[in-house]
Symmetry: C2
Subunit: 290 residues, 2 copies
């Protein structure tokens, strides 16, 4: 059994306030039990900065040596948790990524993932800020407090729409896929489309759980930022596609115990990986088949 927790948070507006807010929320998540894994939302230390193209927003990025990063490394060590920490990463004044660290229980960086699929549509101008990830798909080998290890496939937001990303993580042995996220309604569509958009998002990731017989956890933000209304609805799905938990649109801390043996059961019931026609999949490497 793996004890997971996530924080569906609301940006407090500034880095300083978010650091304090998240620290308090993480402590709260660890107050009665010690989770094996605590997951924060995408770009957790800032507002969703890609709402606009503003040169000054590059000031919101963090170099790996930043004090704020050190703070969360130390916090993970103090609380003895594995912590998924998504952040706006500055490599140099010229190169930035939308990244996450999986920080281990010793406060060391266990895994470093850079978002592979970068969106760009009105209100989500990510291609202005982030170079697409250069590290490929990353599966973290994580140690629980009981000393067991489990594998966490690291993905971020827009990656959620790509079955290929989920599949490659599963092929690399991921048992839990995590999607720190910042998705919401942009106020341009009619409200009767809102529910369809939310359901498309939810259905898409639920299907990754089913197709790959893995657990899937999405951790979204809540709150209004400019014209964006982040829809929350963070959730965990099991390897049969069953909904283990689904948040509303409030700030929430969720805890779940995941029984990884369900992965074996699901594979025995519907053994997809036995039958994949890898001999006939080469078109997947094309942009389009012309």
């Amino acid at each position: 059994m793996v004890k997971v927790a996530w924080i569906q948070g609301k940006s407090q507006g500034t880095i300083e306030k978010n650091l304090s807010y998240l620290t308090q929320k993480i402590r709260e998540a660890c107050s009665s039990i010690t989770p094996d894994l605590v997951i924060l939302q995408e770009l957790c230390l800032t507002d969703y900065l890609a709402i606009t193209e503003a040169p000054e927003n590059f000031d919101l990025a963090f170099h790996k040596d930043a004090e704020e990063i050190k703070h969360f490394l130390a916090l993970a060590k103090e609380l003895s948790i594995n912590l998924v920490f998504p952040f706006f990463e500055k490599v140099s004044p010229a190169v930035y990524f939308n990244s996450l660290y999986v920080i281990d229980r010793e406060g060391q960086i266990n895994c470093h993932y850079r978002k592979m699929h970068i969106p760009d549509d009105p209100g989500f101008y990510e291609k202005y800020y982030f170079r697409a990830g250069d590290k490929g798909f990353q599966v973290a080998d994580v140690k629980s407090s009981a000393g067991d290890s489990f594998k966490v496939g690291c993905l971020i937001c827009w990656d959620q729409w790509f079955p290929e990303a989920a599949r490659i993580n599963a092929l690399k042995g991921a048992q839990i896929l995590i999607y720190p996220t910042a998705i919401g309604w942009d106020g341009t569509a009619s409200p009767d489309i809102y529910q369809d958009q939310l359901e498309a998002w939810f259905t898409s990731m639920r299907a990754h759980a089913i197709a790959n017989h893995v657990f899937v956890i999405a951790v979204n933000r809540v709150g209004k930022e400019g014209h964006l209304d982040f829809w929350g609805n963070s959730f965990c799905i099991d390897p049969y596609g069953r909904i283990l938990e689904r948040n509303g649109q409030d700030e929430t801390i969720s805890h779940l115990d995941l029984d990884l043996k369900v992965i074996d059961e699901a594979n025995r019931y519907w053994p997809y990986f036995r039958d994949r026609r890898v001999d006939a999949f080469s078109d997947l490497l094309k942009i389009w088949v012309e």
Copy 2:
């Protein structure tokens, strides 16, 4: 607008009775309008023969020159419809496939697909009967009665669990994915699992529609055959993942008009194909990443 129709049928037990039953149902589906596409269920002329491994069941296969095939070619021509006709195909006494023809409005074979992913689990012993398809993924270029053409990605049942299969069809230009199917409950699981299985099946294909911005139509059978209870629930999903129609567990003829312009709209709203990391997808061609 493309006018589609499907027949969620119940096997009548023998080839002779099924031929008569399906002929009547097809005529009924074309009685007031002429659909552009009529879809029948998997292995439509027989019971679900793979319920057991029985050498005599190979007698239920059809060579391309069989009278029964000629009957449906002539019927498509008479009614001026494109007809998706799934059947147990005999190539020789040594080689058999689980196949479908897309028959055109002139009664000619437009497309021939052989099921690429073959299941095998208790009650669904397909690997005993069918060699896995040797033709790759097939997208039919179909002409409507108005003279427009549209593209139909041809898939069969177990293919539904593989995001790769849906994706390759979409990359080849498919606008509508069709899944003639024979799926049901096998009586071995507890009834409280039944709904989960049905939802996993439905969610999986609904996600193909969302991930690829295509229409998805599944046509399943109904009725009890031995210990199998075929669950019907044939459906059509639009490129946003919206449910346009979902049958119950009765024999049903469904008609829908599909507005293919929705595909363009959905791609403009969430343009996934712009961002697929084909440079990082080579692991998809592996059975497992070791």
